[in-house]
């Protein structure tokens, strides 16, 4: 019951965000950014927290989604839904194609290969100047109002936030359904005891592949929204530093719980926003956050307050 109540409170707070966030001196776009990162990290958590595959190069799929959406708007057609669709498909396809290369690995080797693969896309975007804008990033596109027949949904800052919230809700519903299904239970079983699952005759590798592909697709979806939020994307959106940030946000919130990443994202994004406005050495502080979380709060915020969160 408390669980349902807290989730209800969360959704009400999210729906009312364009009213209360500017009141406390922030801006609605920050709310959009938090939700976008929440989609990305909750997607990543399907492979990381639920299947136990340490994917450390997830920014690649985030960035591919972003570039896919941006390039669709810039070169193909001025349609926001099409941009989201194509961006998600591009990132999802990349994760699906690369899945077989990583699915057999475990632990640190899994991490190392996913990081290195991520760098491939980073350098493609940096060096494919004429099309991607290189180091400077991809600009010169903007999100387009959505037409439903005669009705036009104008994507102002607030309206775009509600589009993101809709995307967040859809992604949450999909992920929740997956994790409650036999497929999701198999993911968790692989994390808990991979060898035993193998002995049951289940092809573990295929499930790791599936988890990797799902995670990549959802992260790519978040990436498309990120490109639309800023009407801009740059190679930083595929850099391994962003991948590391995604992972620390998940651990910070609690990687064994469904909504853990959302908590981690809120804390991390707000801290980053604040630190970068007060000190030039914000990177040092972010690094210290990494070190302190690992040493002192390995279970994350939800792990401290709620031991049952471990069991989701």
């Amino acid at each position: 019951m408390t669980r349902i109540a807290s989730i209800a409170v969360m959704w009400i707070a999210l729906i009312a965000l364009p009213w209360w966030l500017p009141m406390i001196g922030s801006y609605t776009a920050l709310g959009s950014k938090v939700l976008i990162y929440a989609i990305a990290t909750m997607g990543l958590n399907i492979i990381l927290g639920f299947t136990g595959g340490l994917s450390f190069g997830q920014a690649a799929y985030f960035g591919l989604g972003a570039y896919g959406a941006g390039m669709t708007l810039k070169y193909l057609a001025p349609s926001t839904p099409l941009a989201i669709l194509i961006g998600t498909a591009v990132g999802g396809a990349a994760a699906t194609l690369l899945g077989p290369l990583v699915m057999r690995r475990r632990g640190i080797y899994f991490a190392m290969i996913t990081i290195a693969i991520g760098q491939l896309f980073y350098f493609i975007m940096v060096r494919w100047n004429e099309v991607t804008g290189g180091e400077d990033g991809l600009a010169g596109f903007s999100r387009q109002d959505i037409h439903f027949g005669p009705i036009i949904y104008r994507l102002t800052e607030t309206n775009f936030y509600y589009l993101v919230l809709l995307g967040f809700t859809a992604a949450v519903a999909i992920m929740w359904t997956i994790l409650q299904s036999p497929l999701g239970h198999t993911f968790v079983a692989i994390r808990e005891n991979r060898r035993r699952i193998e002995f049951l005759g289940i092809r573990v590798e295929r499930y790791v592949w599936a988890a990797f592909a799902i995670a990549g697709t959802i992260t790519a979806f978040a990436g498309t929204l990120n490109a639309l939020l800023f009407n801009f994307t740059s190679p930083q959106d595929l850099h391994w530093i962003l991948s590391g940030n995604f992972v620390i946000m998940i651990v910070l919130g609690g990687m064994r719980s469904f909504f853990g990443p959302l908590i981690g994202v809120i804390i991390f994004v707000v801290a980053q926003d604040y630190l970068s406005s007060v000190t030039g050495n914000w990177m040092t502080f972010i690094g210290m956050i990494f070190v302190l979380i690992v040493l002192l709060f390995p279970r994350g915020v939800l792990g401290i307050f709620n031991r049952r969160a471990e069991a989701v």
């Binding site: 990381l48 340490l54 450390f56 290369l101 057999r104 690995r105 475990r106 632990g107 640190i108 080797y109 899994f110 991490a111 190392m112 290969i113 990081i115 290195a116 693969i117 760098q119 491939l120 350098f123 493609i124 940096v126 060096r127 494919w128 100047n129 391994w240 530093i241 590391g244 992972v247 620390i248 651990v251 990687m255 030039g280 050495n281 990177m283 040092t284 972010i286 690094g287 210290m288 956050i289 990494f290 070190v291 979380i293 690992v294 040493l295 390995p298």
Partner: protein, 289 residues
């Protein structure tokens, strides 16, 4: 033809740095079971300390003291931050911890020494070109190769013939049994981490003489070093060195024909290796699978 040679040689030098980095990373990976994301940070520490000390000690003194100081800082970091988390089986924690360290070291380097690139003065005796036609083959570059080869051979001899080396190799195979036989594995892992950082520091000082010093230099060398390990095969130090040289050379050759692909080519090579021979050139089958 000369352009190809020029680029290939440049690539090879770059590959030497990858190889040195990969060697230290692979050492730490196999015995400490840590992907040391801060390895580039130790490279930067070695390089900048050598830069600061070189007016007092000269280039040769700095070449020796820089890496040793990097190793010393590595020992402290291992003792204070990494040792407490060995018992956690999930590798995510050591990865995140060293990742945080990498950010801290890069940022503090920028604060202390500035974001501007700095040059490391190399003595004239070893800095002149060997011949006029091959102006890019400077004595210093040959010197870098020689030192690297000597360091790699030294490490090989250490691991092959000394008691410490035998213990490190035994610990890599089976840490629990090694511990049960009376080896202090904490000391062993600490020393091993120090060795890894020594190689990072050495790579830093040598690279500073060729590329100059910048705060992000370490973090830009670390990714290719991962690729070197993956191509060479996890668990094989020889593979790591060879992997580093191969990708350096490949990047250099790619620069001649299609400069835009010079970075991407090494990651493409890695994908090909992963498809054709998943364990890498010299990796052992079944490790981490």
């Amino acid at each position: 033809m000369q352009l190809l040679l020029f680029n290939a040689f440049n690539g090879l030098i770059q590959g030497v740095f990858y190889a040195l980095m990969a060697l230290g990373l692979a050492l730490i990976l196999s015995l400490n079971s840590v992907i040391n994301m801060a390895h580039g940070g130790f490279l930067v520490i070695g390089a900048y300390l050598a830069y600061t000390l070189s007016p007092y000690l000269g280039f040769w003194g700095a070449l020796i003291v820089g890496p040793i100081l990097a190793a010393g800082i590595g020992l402290v970091v291992e003792r204070v931050l990494i040792r407490p988390i060995y018992k956690r089986t999930d590798p995510i924690y050591s990865l995140l911890l060293t990742f945080g360290l990498a950010l801290i070291i890069e940022d503090l380097t920028r604060t202390i020494w500035g974001a501007q690139g700095l040059p490391l003065e190399v003595p004239d005796i070893i800095n002149s070109p060997v011949s006029e036609e091959y102006f890019f083959v400077t004595g210093y570059r040959l010197f870098v190769m020689g030192i690297t080869a000597a360091a790699a051979i030294g490490l090989y001899l250490l691991l092959r013939y000394t008691l410490l080396g035998i213990r490190i190799r035994a610990g890599t195979r089976d840490l629990e049994t090694t511990s049960a036989l009376g080896v202090n594995i904490y000391k062993l892992r600490a020393l091993n981490f120090g060795f890894g950082c020594l190689f990072a520091g050495l790579a830093g000082v040598l690279a500073a003489g060729v590329l100059g010093l910048t705060p992000p230099m370490g973090n830009s060398l670390i990714m290719p070093s991962f690729v070197a390990i993956i191509i060479g095969g996890v668990g094989s130090l020889f593979g790591a060195v060879l992997g580093g040289l191969i990708i350096g050379l490949a990047a250099g050759i790619a620069t001649t024909y299609y400069p835009a692909a010079s970075e991407a080519v090494i990651y493409l090579m890695m994908l090909i290796v992963l498809v054709v021979r998943p364990r890498g050139l010299f990796g052992e089958e079944g490790l981490f699978e």
